[in-house]
C-alpha cells in the first residue's frame, strides 16, 4: 500500500514562493482498486492513488500502459469496471481534461472557444469578460477575435488551456498536452503551465511521455506499467526548476531506467528522491 509522508522536505530557497497546500486535509481525489477492462482485455489492474488537493502529479509510462484510460476515468468520460474514484468534496464536473490536440471549434472565435469552458456556468458578456481574462493569462488577449485556424500549434494549445481553466476546475487532467509541440515551445508552455497552477492551486494530473517534463513540473511522479503503479516518487526540488540541472537529470535518469526495465534496487531511494512504492 501507499505510505504517504507529508509534508515532504522542500529545500529552502528564498526566491521560491511555495504556495500553501493543504496536504493533510481532504484529498483532491482518491482512487481505490481501480480496474478497467475493454471487452475482456484488462487495461488497468488495481490502481490505488491518493492525491492531495493542489498536488501536481505526473504520470509516465510506456505507450499503451493505460495512462489515457486512467485520465478518462478520472474525468468521468468512462466508467470503471471495478473500484472507486472519489473526488474530495468536489464533483467530476470540477475535473477538466486537456488533450494532446487542442480540440478548438474552428468556427468559433478564440474568445468564444474559451467561453465553451463556461457552459452552464456563465454566458453572454460576463462569460466573455472571464474568457478575456484567461486569455490574458496565457498571453493571447490580443488574439481574442481571431479564428483558431490562424493560430500556431502552441497558441492553440494555450487557448485550450485557457478554456480548461476558465471554469476554475478543482482538478485539471492533462493528457500529453504538449506532445505535439516543438522543444522550445514545450519549455515555454511548461513554464506557463507551472505559473497558472501555482496561481490557482488546482490539482494537476499530467500524463507525459517526456520524463524530463515530469521532473521539471511535478511534485510527484507515478510510473504506470501494465496497468499498475510501478513506481511512485516525490520530487522535492525547489521551483522553478530548470532543464539540464544535475538534480533534474539525476531523477530523470532514475525514472528512465525504471521505465526501460532497470533494476528494482533503484526503488530504494537515495536523497533527494523519496520513494514510496
Amino acid at each position: 500500500m501507499l505510505d504517504h509522508t507529508f509534508p515532504y522536505p522542500i529545500p529552502a530557497s528564498p526566491k521560491v514562493r511555495e504556495i500553501p497546500r493543504d496536504v493533510s486535509g481532504p484529498p483532491g481525489f482518491e482512487i481505490r482498486g481501480l480496474v478497467k477492462r475493454f471487452d475482456g482485455k484488462t487495461v488497468l489492474q488495481g490502481v490505488d492513488l491518493v492525491v492531495p488537493r493542489g498536488q501536481f502529479l505526473a504520470i509516465v509510462g510506456k505507450s499503451g500502459c493505460g495512462k489515457s484510460t486512467l485520465l478518462r476515468l478520472l474525468a468521468g468520460l468512462d466508467q470503471p469496471t471495478e473500484g472507486t474514484i472519489r473526488h474530495g468534496d468536489a464533483q467530476t464536473a470540477d475535473t477538466r481534461i486537456m488533450f494532446q490536440e487542442p480540440r478548438l471549434l474552428p468556427w468559433a472565435r478564440v474568445v468564444d472557444n474559451v467561453t465553451v469552458g463556461l457552459t452552464g456556468i456563465a454566458s453572454g458578456k460576463p462569460a466573455r469578460e472571464r474568457a478575456r481574462r484567461r486569455l490574458a493569462e496565457v498571453r493571447l488577449e490580443d488574439r481574442a477575435g481571431e479564428w483558431p485556424s490562424v493560430l500556431s500549434g502552441g497558441q492553440r494549445q494555450r487557448v485550450a488551456l485557457a478554456r480548461a481553466l476558465v471554469g476554475e476546475p478543482r482538478v485539471l487532467a492533462l493528457d500529453e498536452p504538449l506532445g505535439a509541440l516543438d522543444a522550445l515551445t514545450r519549455i515555454e508552455m511548461q513554464g506557463l503551465l507551472e505559473r497558472v497552477w501555482r496561481g490557482q492551486g488546482f490539482t494537476a494530473v499530467l500524463v507525459t511521455h517526456d520524463v524530463a517534463e515530469a521532473v521539471v513540473l511535478a511534485d510527484r511522479i507515478v510510473v504506470l506499467d501494465e496497468g499498475r503503479i510501478a513506481l511512485d516518487v516525490d520530487v522535492p526540488l525547489p521551483r522553478p526548476r530548470r532543464h539540464g540541472t544535475p538534480e533534474v537529470a539525476r531523477l530523470e535518469s532514475r525514472i528512465l531506467s525504471r521505465l526501460l526495465g532497470g533494476d528494482h534496487a533503484e526503488r530504494h531511494g537515495q536523497a533527494p528522491v523519496v520513494v514510496r512504492a
Partner: protein
C-alpha cells in the same frame, strides 16, 4: 491583380466568342436558320421584354424552381439531420432512400404526367425529388463526418444536446451541406427545363417549345441563354452564402 481585373478576366472568353459569332453570322458563314446572330437574339429579347411575355415566363419558371427546391430541400435536410443524429431513424429509412435514389428521377416523367397531368404539381414534384437527394446525402455525410473529438469535447464541457447541435454538430456539417446545396441548385434547373419542355403551358421551357413550333430560332437560343444566366445566378448566390457562413474555414480566408 486587383479583384476587379480578376473578375473581368472570366468574361473575356465569352465576350470574344459572342463577337466572333456575330462576325461569322454577318459574313454569312453561319446560316440564320441554324444559329441566329447575337444581335438577332438581342432583338428577340427586346421584343419579348416589351410584350411582358419574357418576364412572366421567367417569373413562372423561377417560382417553380424555388418552390420545388424549398419542398425537396427541406425534406432532404430534415431527413439528413434525423438520420445523421439518430441511429434508429437511419436504420429505418436509409435503405429505402438509397433504393429510391437509384431511380433517375426524370424516368418518372411519364408516371408524373399520368398522376398530375401538366399542372404545377408535376413540375414541383419532379424538382423536389431531384433536389431532395443531393441535400439529403450531403447533410447526412456532413453530420456523420463531424469530428467525434469535438463532440466529446462539447460533452466534457457539459453541453446539452441542443447546444451541442447548434455549436458543434451543425457548424461542422455545414461545409458538406453547402456542397449538397450547390449540387442541388444545378439539378433544380436541369429538372425544370426538362419538365417544362415536355409538359407545360407556361414558363421558359414552354416558351422555347412554342418558338420551335413556329421556327423562331432566336427565341429558342434566348431561352437557353436565360437558363444559363439563372443557373449562374443561383450558384453565385450559394457561393456568397457559403462565403459568409464559412468565414472561419481556411479555404475562405484570404
Amino acid at each position: 491583380m486587383t479583384a476587379l481585373a480578376r473578375n473581368s478576366i472570366g468574361w473575356l472568353l465569352p465576350l470574344t466568342i459572342i463577337l466572333a459569332w456575330e462576325a461569322l453570322s454577318r459574313a454569312g458563314f453561319i446560316a440564320a436558320n441554324v444559329l441566329p446572330a447575337p444581335s438577332a437574339v438581342a432583338a428577340a429579347f427586346w421584343k419579348l421584354l416589351l410584350s411582358g411575355e419574357l418576364l412572366r415566363n421567367i417569373w413562372v419558371s423561377s417560382w417553380r424552381a424555388l418552390a420545388g427546391f424549398a419542398i425537396g430541400g427541406s425534406i432532404g435536410f430534415a431527413l439528413g439531420l434525423a438520420n445523421g443524429l439518430s441511429r434508429l431513424s437511419r436504420d429505418m429509412t436509409d435503405t429505402t432512400l438509397q433504393m429510391v435514389r437509384n431511380i433517375p428521377h426524370l424516368a418518372l416523367i411519364p408516371l408524373v404526367i399520368l398522376w398530375f397531368g401538366i399542372g404545377e404539381e408535376a413540375k414541383l414534384f419532379l424538382v423536389a425529388l431531384g433536389v431532395f437527394f443531393p441535400i439529403y446525402v450531403n447533410t447526412l455525410l456532413g453530420i456523420q463526418g463531424v469530428d467525434p473529438q469535438l463532440v466529446e469535447m462539447g460533452r466534457i464541457y457539459g453541453m446539452k444536446p441542443a447546444r451541442l447541435f447548434w455549436r458543434v454538430i451543425l457548424p461542422g456539417a455545414l461545409p458538406a451541406i453547402f456542397t449538397g446545396l450547390r449540387y442541388a441548385l444545378g439539378i433544380m434547373w436541369l429538372t425544370l427545363i426538362v419538365a417544362e419542355t415536355i409538359s407545360a403551358s407556361s414558363g421558359l421551357g414552354y416558351m422555347a417549345m412554342q418558338a420551335r413550333e413556329f421556327l423562331m430560332i432566336d427565341v429558342v437560343v434566348l431561352s437557353i441563354l436565360i437558363y444559363a444566366l439563372l443557373g449562374k445566378l443561383a450558384d453565385t448566390f450559394a457561393r456568397l452564402l457559403e462565403r459568409r457562413t464559412l468565414a472561419w474555414h481556411p479555404a475562405f480566408q484570404t
